[in-house]
C-alpha cells in the first residue's frame, strides 16, 4: 500500500500528471493544517536524513538515484498542496539532480583517488546536521524549569517594601504593543475567508469510520485509493484538523513503524 502511494506520487512528477490532480481553487485548506505539514520537516537536510534513515540506507554510500526520486516525490506532494516551498528545498533538488548525473559519469580508475566523491560534501553536511539534531533532542530532554524543576518560592509579606518603580512613557507602551502584533502576524498564517464544506464533511466521515471500527485503524486504511489525489488531500487535512482539535490521536510505536489512528480518550 505504501509503495502504491509512492508510485502515485512519483508518477505525477511529470507536469501533465500534476496538472490533472491540481487542488481545486475553492478548496479551503485550514491554515493550521498547512503549518503542520510545513513543520513536518525542518528543511531539505532533515527530509533527506529522514529518507535515508527510513530505508536504513548507508549514509556514507547514498544511492543518489533512489534518494533523489523519493525527495522529488515529497516535493511534488507539497507542491500539489499549493504550499509555497522554501527555496532551500529547490536548491537541494537541483543539487541532487546534479549529483545524480555526476554519479552516472564513468570515473577513470587512476584518477579515482585524486578526485573527490561527488557526494562527499553532501555527506559531510548531513552528518553535521544530524549531530545537532541529536543535540537539540537532548537539550529538549534536559530537566527544565516549570516542567521538571519547580522553584520554591514564598510570597512577600503583607508589610509593604519600599520600592521606587521604573518610569514608563506611553510611547514605550505603544511600541511594545506594535511589536507584539507584528510578531503575532509573523507566526500566524494569513487568514483565508473561504470555507468549504468538504473537509468538515470528511471529518465526520472519518469519525464514523473510526467509531465503526472500535480501537485502532491503520492510517493508510483511511485513504480510499479509488479516489483522486484531491480526495486524499482532503482526507489528510480533515485528519489534521481532528488531531488539532484533540478528537483523534495518532500512534506510532517507533520511527518508521506503521501509523495508527484512534479516537482520543476524553479525559475530562
Amino acid at each position: 500500500m505504501n509503495d502504491e502511494i509512492q508510485e502515485q506520487a512519483v508518477a505525477s512528477t511529470t507536469p501533465s500528471a500534476s496538472d490533472d490532480y491540481a487542488v481545486p481553487d475553492d478548496l479551503f485548506i485550514p491554515p493550521d493544517a498547512l503549518i503542520v505539514i510545513l513543520e513536518a520537516f525542518e528543511g531539505p537536510l532533515d527530509l533527506l536524513l529522514y529518507l535515508i534513515r527510513r530505508k536504513n540506507l548507508d549514509i556514507l554510500d547514498i544511492p543518489v538515484a533512489e534518494v533523489t526520486e523519493q525527495y522529488m516525490a515529497y516535493i511534488d506532494v507539497l507542491t500539489s498542496l499549493r504550499l509555497e516551498l522554501a527555496g532551500d528545498y529547490l536548491v537541494m533538488a537541483a543539487t541532487l539532480a546534479e549529483l545524480k548525473s555526476r554519479m552516472l559519469l564513468p570515473r577513470k580508475s587512476d584518477e579515482a583517488e585524486e578526485e573527490e566523491d561527488p557526494r562527499a560534501e553532501l555527506v559531510r553536511r548531513l552528518l553535521e546536521y544530524e549531530v545537532f539534531q541529536k543535540a537539540a533532542e537532548e537539550i529538549d530532554e534536559l530537566p527544565r524549569v516549570d516542567r521538571d524543576i519547580f522553584i520554591a518560592q514564598v510570597d512577600r509579606s503583607d508589610v509593604p517594601v519600599e520600592i521606587d518603580p521604573p518610569k514608563v512613557e506611553l510611547r514605550e507602551l505603544l511600541i511594545a504593543f506594535t511589536e507584539v502584533l507584528e510578531r503575532d502576524k509573523m507566526r500566524r498564517p494569513h487568514p483565508i475567508d473561504i470555507e468549504s464544506l468538504s473537509i468538515r464533511e470528511r471529518m465526520t466521515n472519518l469519525l464514523t469510520q473510526l467509531a465503526n471500527r472500535d480501537g485502532y485503524v491503520s492510517f493508510l486504511e483511511l485513504f480510499d485509493h479509488t479516489e483522486s489525489r484531491e480526495g486524499a488531500v482532503v482526507t489528510l487535512l480533515a485528519l489534521l484538523e481532528l488531531i488539532r482539535d484533540s478528537v483523534v490521536s495518532v500512534i506510532q510505536h517507533g520511527s518508521y513503524e506503521p501509523i495508527f489512528v484512534t479516537r482520543a480518550h476524553s479525559s475530562g
Binding site: D146, F150, I163, L170, G268
Partner: protein
C-alpha cells in the same frame, strides 16, 4: 496510605510552588490517591499545617491563613534585605512586562493564556504580580472556561499615570499597524 511526615513534606512542597493560597480542601484533593480514606487524609493535612506552622518559627518564612487558604510568606523582619533586592533590580521594566501591559490595555478583559497566545511565550506570574503591585492592572474575575482563568484589565491609576482620561484615548490600533508594517518590510528587504 501516606504517613504524616510524607503528607507534611508534600503540603510544604505544594505551598512552595502554588501561585495562589491553597485551601484545606484543595490540599486534600491534590494529595488524594485512589484508595485514600478521605477523612483520614483531611486529618493528616490539618496536622501537617499545624506542624509546618510550628516548624517555621525557626525559618525565614511563616505559614499564613488568608481568605482563600494557606500560603507561605517571608517574615516581615527580612523586609530590610528584600527591599535591597528589589532596589537592585533593573531600573527599566523588561520588554516582556511592557508587552503584557500593552496587551492588557488594548485587549482587556484578557486572560494570561490569551496573552501567552499572542506573545508566543509564557507570561510569568512575577510579571503579572509586578503590574498588580504597581497598581496598573487588576483582576476582573474568572472567565467561564475550563480552569476558570483570571481575566485582567487596567486600573484608574494606569490611566492617571499615562495621562489618559479614558481608555479611548489610547491611540487606535489601525494607526499603529501601518507604520510598523513599513518597518518590517524595510527590515526584511
Amino acid at each position: 496510605m501516606m504517613e504524616l511526615n510524607e503528607v507534611r513534606r508534600a503540603v510544604e512542597a505544594l505551598l512552595l510552588v502554588a501561585e495562589d493560597p491553597l485551601s484545606r480542601t484543595q490540599l486534600a484533593g491534590l494529595l488524594k490517591e485512589h484508595d485514600e480514606d478521605e477523612s483520614n487524609l483531611s486529618a493528616l493535612v490539618e496536622q501537617s499545617l499545624e506542624l509546618i506552622k510550628a516548624d517555621c518559627s525557626e525559618r525565614a518564612y511563616e505559614l499564613v491563613e488568608v481568605g482563600s487558604g494557606f500560603r507561605l510568606q517571608v517574615r516581615p523582619e527580612f523586609n530590610k534585605w528584600i527591599g535591597k533586592l528589589w532596589m537592585q533590580r533593573p531600573r527599566q521594566y523588561s520588554r516582556a512586562l511592557l508587552e503584557t501591559l500593552a496587551l492588557i490595555a488594548y485587549r482587556q478583559p484578557i486572560t494570561r493564556g490569551e496573552i501567552e497566545q499572542v506573545r508566543g511565550v509564557s507570561v510569568s506570574s512575577y510579571t503579572i504580580r509586578t503590574l498588580i503591585d504597581r497598581g496598573w492592572i487588576r483582576e476582573l474575575g474568572a472567565k467561564d472556561l475550563p480552569g476558570r482563568p483570571m481575566m485582567y484589565g487596567t486600573t484608574r491609576s494606569f490611566l492617571d499615570y499615562f495621562n489618559l482620561k479614558t481608555l479611548d484615548d489610547l491611540p487606535p490600533l489601525h494607526e499603529l499597524q501601518s507604520p510598523a508594517n513599513d518597518i518590517v518590510d524595510s527590515v526584511t528587504q
